[in-house]
Amino acid sequence: MNEMSKSQITDAKKRYAAGVLKYAQMGYWDGDYQPKDTDILALFRITPQEGVDPIEAAAAVAGESSTATWTVVWTDRLTACDQYRAKAYKVEPVPGTPGQYFCYVAYDLILFEEGSIANVTASIIGNVFSFKPLKAARLEDMRFPVAYLKTFAGPPTGIVVERERLDKFGRPLLGATTKPKLGLSGKNYGRVVYEGLKGGLDFMKDDENINSQPFMHWRDRFLYCMEAVNKATAVTGEVKGHYLNVTAGTMEEMYRRAEFAKELGSVIIMVDLIIGWTATQSISNWARQNDMILHMHRAGHGTYTRQKNHGISFRVIAKWLRMAGVDHLHCGTAVGKLEGDPMTVQGYYNVCREMHNPVDLPRGIFFEQDWANLKRVLPVASGGIHAGQMHQLIDLFGDDVVLQFGGGTIGHPMGIQAGATANRVALEVMVQARNEGVDIANEGLEVLRKAAKWCKPLEAALDTWGNITFNYTPTDTSDFVPTASVS
């Protein structure tokens, strides 16, 4: 592509003559553009087809995610079209990955409806991911201006208020997912909930696909789980909870289930990511109205977040969810059974928990983000973790996280209560040691072994799972540092 075809045609007659122009010629590329503080910014990783110039490809992304279509239309001239065009303003080769480019696009704020993630997504990911001149495209990161964030209410509860409401400070919260996730009757299911909570967990949890199946109607589940929660509160003197999954086929049915959870006195409900953005914002409003903590299980995200060359990075999903308004969000464990490079996962945690994200390329944060006082989301680490990894988990993620040991609680050789106690003791002893100045990343296992001498359930947990690791090479890693794997 020569230099002429990379720059906008300024002569109006030529620019708006019927026919097809390059996107760059139409004005969707401006290498000199300085993004405004009020612009929404997006970073795409694109893989152009052979022979497609990366700058033209970037301009096409900007065009197709804003005003363009494949051919010139004269009706542009009825609008302030120069301002409505998104501008690709920077294109860089991805380090160490030939054929891929990072392309930065700026969008004027007027292009977006206030308080609507549906509108943001329809614009930014509506069209471009199927665009033929690109082999693949991935939305890596976004920057939202304060002006736009202020149109969202954000998390209904947030970390600070959740901790105050639950009276739990200074340590990660502990949870477990009820297993087996399908097949238990309501009464048997509640038994698992009671045992886990009595043993020392703060929360038990429905799994993503527990809704209202023939073996357990949702009302039955809610009733037995709340019996378990209340009984466990009485025998421990602690506030306890169970994430009641209200995910259902229609919004009306979700509200019905949420109302019942409220009537029964539950402190928390849960939904799955697959309910969609609009449903999430609606149930978030309901949760805010009813003093309910809202747990988000990221069911389905792996279909579009895992592969590096195509889809959406989870850090973008996390940003959208903080805006849409959830209180808990599954963000990965780095050490467990599910995908996640440690630094990339820490990047998601920072998106959820910090009031300001600086640029942090090793953690995959490409833009500075001021969260405009939107409340903090509590990340959840869940999937194939056990008490023997407690030092790694606390070292990686700190105190503001829910650590969920499902199999690591329920599969304990001495029973569910013992499994829960092993996890709680491991957690408390590790927080105590860290506060005392112990280097838990290196000496954590010693701390656990010492506690196992007086805590039989912990000893049994370490004997059973102490050597279990999930050491696979992550697929979604930073392009800016060598990937370290946690063993």
Binding site: F169, G200, K231, T421
Partner: protein, 133 residues
């Protein structure tokens, strides 16, 4: 029954040396330290009695340990907890809370169930024992 509120209730009761270590940690984070006590550790009893105001600008754990000793002398059969407060913007809340004194005989909780519409239940937790005569 052993009430498991606070962040170290599953460990053996902390020794004074261990309590001092945690206070040193709190002071190293520049958090204020508050001592609170109660005879009523109901999970929804948010406001325990304050043993004076939270201590701001402390440099040495010794001051807290002296206050704790005095509080124990006055309310030896009460629950006493140490709270850490962070005043930095965006937190402005308790960052840590742990029990440092328990009565010899801990109370328990009785669950009252009231059957209401359908099979729904209203639950209330009532403390049994523990209150001083």
């Amino acid at each position: 029954m052993r009430i498991t509120q606070g962040c170290f209730s599953f460990l053996p009761d902390l020794t004074d040396e261990q309590i001092r270590d945690q206070i040193e940690y709190i002071l190293s984070r520049e958090w204020a330290v508050g001592i609170e006590w109660t005879f009523e550790p109901h999970p929804r009893n948010t406001y325990w009695e304050m043993w004076g105001h939270p201590m701001f600008d402390l440099k040495d754990a010794k001051g807290v340990m002296m206050e704790l000793a005095d509080c124990r002398k006055a309310h030896g059969d009460a629950y006493i907890r140490i709270n850490a407060f962070d005043s930095s913007r965006g937190w402005e809340t308790v960052m840590m809370s742990f029990i440092v004194n328990r009565p010899a005989q801990e109370p328990s909780f009785r669950t009252w169930r009231q059957e209401v519409d359908g099979r729904a239940m209203r639950y209330t937790h009532e403390m049994v024992g523990g209150m001083p005569g």
